[in-house]
């Protein structure tokens, strides 16, 4: 038919503008943590090379300049920043980011995208602990593995991630989505113990194995796994059925490059309600084939 359809399907722009990006190339590898919350498209777009080179960072307990560690080229007029090197000791990259794109080539340190509100971060490598803590919008994609506390609340805080998406193509460690209230965390590999601990709402999808004590203390929200799992006794089996809403998530995640099959989309899932020590309105869905 000739109808001009609206965007009834999800779309994901997979192309990445490379020609116009601001390039930050690591010159010196830090021995101690380098705090780089300045490095976001928000702060860098519209600035000249000299202004960027003079932006303040913190190296250990000493102030320093961006130029002490990075060579600057290109420009961020299109709000795209590329940063490359061994960034495993570089913390807070993309923190509080609201728009644009941050493309990281190499392993990255903790607190990536902390408090992020918009835009997209991609990591062509592994990420340390605390990816997207307390973020409320935007998308973080990790093409390698990630550490503990993904999308979590900081210690002492009541609420973790409130929106946005974290997509991990590898595995993640403990306390994924601790106290998260909204948003999506998808992990192509396995997740560690206490996945979704104290979760308030939102969705965590793990295509691999779940660790121990999944969903402990969760009030609402969904934790989905394609593997079987040993659940806490405070989760109660409800039924086995094919949830229509999961199909949309899987279609969306397929577009983001996660390996999901037609069988996963059309399959049935065993629903467990919990956590019974809390509100008992959360759910764990395990693929039943």
């Amino acid at each position: 038919m000739a109808a001009a359809w609206g965007n009834i399907k999800f779309t994901y722009m997979n192309s990445w503008p490379v020609d116009m990006a601001l390039e930050l190339t690591q010159r010196v590898c830090p021995d101690v943590p380098l705090e780089a919350d300045t490095i976001t498209p928000d702060r860098l777009s519209g600035l000249g090379h000299t202004e960027i080179e003079k932006l303040p960072l913190h190296y250990g307990n000493q102030p320093c300049l961006l130029a002490d560690f990075f060579a600057v080229s290109g420009n961020a007029d299109d709000r795209t920043v590329r940063i490359s090197g061994d960034l495993s000791k570089v913390k807070f990259l993309g923190a509080q980011m609201t728009h644009g794109s941050l493309h990281i080539e190499g392993d990255v340190g903790p607190h990536l995208g902390a408090g992020m509100r918009g835009g997209e971060i991609r990591v062509e490598g592994n990420a340390d602990d605390w990816v997207g803590p307390e973020m409320s919008g935007g998308r973080i994609i990790i093409y390698g593995d990630a550490g503990h506390m993904i999308g979590s609340a900081y210690r002492g805080a009541a609420t973790g991630m409130c929106g946005g998406e974290i997509i991990i193509h590898g595995s993640a460690r403990n306390e994924v989505g601790h106290a998260m209230r909204n948003g999506l965390i998808a992990i192509a590999g396995n997740s560690g113990d206490f996945t979704g601990v104290n979760m308030l709402a939102g969705t965590i999808m793990v295509l691999g194995e779940l660790g121990l004590r999944t969903g402990a203390g969760m009030k609402r929200g969904s934790i989905v796994s394609l593997k079987q799992a040993e659940l806490l006794p405070t989760f109660t089996y409800a039924c086995t059925w094919p949830p229509a809403f999961l199909r949309m998530y899987f279609i969306y995640l397929q577009q983001l490059g996660l390996a999901l099959t037609a069988a996963h989309k059309a399959g049935s899932y065993r629903r467990f309600c919990g956590d019974g020590v809390e509100l008992n309105k959360g759910e764990i869905l395990l693929y039943a084939g």
């Binding site: 038919m1 000739a2 109808a3 609206g6 999800f10 039924c239 949830p243 949309m248």
Partner: protein
């Protein structure tokens, strides 16, 4: 103007501005998606008597739907944005949510929206849950076969209703044959529905009545049985008149459908093709048949 053996009247269809939306219904099979869509679009032939006009636009393959299940696209039109919202809540709640395995999504993109899932969620009696994905919120309402998933809001847009063609035939057989061919051709056009039974209406109306309180009554000028009693609009050899009414998301969509319909219906046995109007004083759109067919 003549198109083959058929006269094309020098007149125009008078169409009206109103509001419309597209609803995507999916289900485990096309049969159940169609069951929901047919139920939802029942008793929706005319705003005058049904408060909305609705119809099935097309069936959709799994590749075309948000959850990759077989689907049906429905268009619904009402007088204003709020009325579209009310009718959607009623009809999705009573006709789609009740149908096994269905889910329901907005099929338009527009900033203007009406709340639907956020109203229907109360049927969940506290057990409902929402999911937000790619900037859109969906409600999951527990039902006896699992869950009913419905979009929180549906996009609406200004639309056009009341495009029409009138087929004047020598007899019912010729009239029905031409109308069927026209409907088939018009349904190939997108963004439109034909709200009457199988696309065709025989009870064309005029505004008002001799009876107090009736907003519309039979259009005697087009009734063959009244030729001897009234100022008829029918040629002598015409004994059957059928009308096809078109509602569309845009005027261009209605024009395309009318053109396809006239082209398909102009055949031996159809003496004349005309269009209904109210003298141009009521509707915001005038679609002239000669201009349409000349273009």
């Amino acid at each position: 103007m003549r198109l083959r053996t058929t006269d094309i009247a020098d007149t125009f269809a008078e169409a009206f501005a109103l509001w419309g939306t597209r609803v995507i219904i999916t289900a485990a099979t096309e049969q159940w998606a169609l069951a929901a869509a047919q139920t939802m679009t029942g008793f929706a032939t005319s705003i005058i008597g049904c408060q909305c006009e609705a119809g099935i636009e097309t069936t959709l393959s799994p590749e075309q739907t948000p959850d990759e299940r077989p689907g049906v696209s429905v268009l619904l039109f009402a007088m204003d944005k709020a009325a579209v919202g009310k009718r959607l809540v009623e009809r999705i709640g009573q006709c789609v949510m009740t149908c096994p395995t269905t889910a329901c999504f907005s099929g338009l993109e527009n900033e203007q929206t009406v709340q639907v899932g956020s109203q229907l969620r109360y049927f969940g009696d506290g057990f409902q849950a929402s999911k937000q994905l790619a900037g859109r919120r969906y409600w999951r309402i527990p039902v006896m076969d699992g869950e009913f998933t419905v979009a929180e809001s549906f996009a609406v847009q200004e639309a056009v209703a009341g495009g029409n063609i009138i087929l004047m035939a020598t007899d019912a057989e010729q009239g029905l044959s031409a109308a069927t061919a026209a409907v088939q051709a018009m349904r190939m056009c997108g963004d439109i529905i034909l709200p009457f039974p199988d696309g065709v209406v025989r009870s064309g109306s005029k505004v008002g009545s001799r009876y107090k309180g009736l907003p519309a009554s039979t259009n005697e000028a087009y009734c063959p049985t009244l030729k001897a009693l009234t100022s008829t609009a029918l040629p002598d050899e015409v004994n059957c008149v059928l009308e096809i009414v078109i509602d569309g998301l845009t005027e261009a969509a209605i024009r395309a459908a009318m053109q396809a319909g006239v082209e398909a219906a102009a055949r031996p046995g159809v003496v004349k093709i005309s269009a209904g109007n109210y003298g141009g004083s009521l509707g915001q759109y005038k679609i002239h048949l000669h201009e349409l067919m000349a273009g």
